[in-house]
Amino acid sequence: MAQRLPVADWSTDFDVMDPAYIEDPFSIWDDLRKTCPIAHTKRRGGAWLLTTYADVTEAAHDIERFSSLEVGVIASEEEPDDLLPYGLPPISADPPLHSWTRRLLLPWFSHTKVDGYEAMTRDLCRRLIDGFIGTGQADAAADFAQQIPVRVIAKVLGVPEDLSDAFTGWVRDVLEFADEPERVKRGGDGILGFLVEHLQLRKDDPRDDLISQLAHTRHEGEPLDDSLVLGMAGLVLIAGIDTTWSAIGSALWHLARNPRDTARLVAEPPLMAPAVEEFLRVYSPVTMARVVRADVEFKGCPMAAGDKVLMNFPAANRDPAAFERSDEVVLERAHNRHIAFGTGIHRCAGSNLARMELRVALEEWLARIPTFRLADDALVTWAGGQVRGPRSIPVVFP
C-alpha cells in the first residue's frame, strides 16, 4: 500500500482515501463549504474537490474545460492497458466517441428493459433472505446488498451467475483499493481476461445479451473494434455492481439505526418512491473525476492542465444551499433534484436499473424483516473514495 500521510489541512491537502474521509466525509464537506468550497491537494499529481451543488453542476456540464478521459478519483500509476486504448467508453470518453457508444448502451437500460429484470431481482432477494432469516441475524451488506447487483448485471451481460463472487472481488479490487496499484491491476486483469474469453464465445454463438449485440453491431458500416466492446462491457460490469450495492447497503444501514423511518416505510408503501430518491441523495455512493484540458481559472481557482477535478456528487447532494434540512433523511421529500447519478451528458446510463434494484431490495427486506437493528455499531465497516458504502452491516431481527 502506498504510504499515506495524515491530512494536515482539508482545504489544501485533502485525501479522499483518508480513513477519516471514508468514515465521515460529511463534516469535512460542511467545513469546506463554509471556508473553502473548492479544496485542493498536491497529492497524486494534483486535484480539486468541489463541495457545492452549484459548482458540481456547473463543472459537470462544462465538457469544454473538463474532460472525461480520466474519471478515476485517484490517478492510476499503471500505463493504459493495450487492450483498452479508449478506457471504458462512454464514461471515459468525450464526444464524439462518448455520444455514439452511449447510444449503443442506453437501450439496454430503458424502462422497458428494466421492468423485465424486476421479477428476477425480486426472486433473487427472496432467495437471499431465505438463506438467513431463520437465524435471526445477517450481514445486510455482505449477505444481501452485495449479492444483488452483480447477479442482475450478469443477466444483462449474459454471463453465468455462478461467476458472481469472482466479479465482486474484481470490481472491489478496481474501485475500493485505488492506492494499492497491484490490487487494482489484479481486478482489472481478472475482468479483462474474462471478457476477452467471453467476447470470443459470443462472436461464435450470439445470444440475446449485451455482449452478443456489441460483438455484432456496426458503427458507420464497420464492426466495432474489440477494444470498444471490451471497454463498454467492462464498464457495465464495473459501474453496475459496487455502486448499487453501496446504495442498498447505506439505505439498510440507515433503517437499522432509525426504527421510526423503518416503521413508516412498512406502514406507508407510497413512501417508498420518494424514500428511494432520498436515500440516493443523502447516501450518494459515487464520486467521479474530470481532467482539466488546459490551464483555466474556475471560481477563482487556478486549475492546471492535467489536474483532476472531483465531481463530488455526494457533497453536492448535502449542500444546504440546494436542499432544506440537507443532512436529514426526509422520507417524503417532494422536491429532490439530487444528482446521485451525475448530471449532464454522463448521467449514469444504468440509473433506472439501480433505482429498481434499490426499491425491490428494500421492499423485499421490509416485507420479511420489518424490524431490525444493528448488532453493534462498531462492527460496521465502510469503503470510500470512488464509491462510498458499507461493506459490513451486522444486524439482528429477534
Binding site: H111, E277, A334, N336, R337
Partner: protein
C-alpha cells in the same frame, strides 16, 4: 396548464416519467417528451409541478397555454 421538455437539456434521468407517466413519454434512449401537446389534464397539475421540481437538468418548464 401546459408544459414542455427541452430536448437539449434532458439527459434521461426519467424522474418526470416516474412521477407522472401519463404526462411524459420516454424513448429507449431515455429522452423524455410531453404527451400530446403538453396540455396537463385538470387535476394533474400537482404532479406536473412535481416533475418540474424534480428534474435535475431543469429541462421541464411551464409554458403559455
Amino acid at each position: 396548464m401546459k408544459i414542455a421538455v427541452d430536448p437539449e437539456k434532458c439527459q434521461g434521468h426519467a424522474r418526470c416519467y416516474a412521477l407522472a407517466p401519463d404526462l411524459f413519454d420516454i424513448d429507449d434512449y431515455g429522452q423524455s417528451s410531453v404527451v400530446g401537446e403538453g396540455s396537463v389534464p385538470p387535476g394533474r397539475e400537482e404532479d406536473a409541478r412535481l416533475a418540474i421540481a424534480n428534474c435535475p437538468e431543469l429541462a421541464i418548464s411551464e409554458v403559455e397555454a
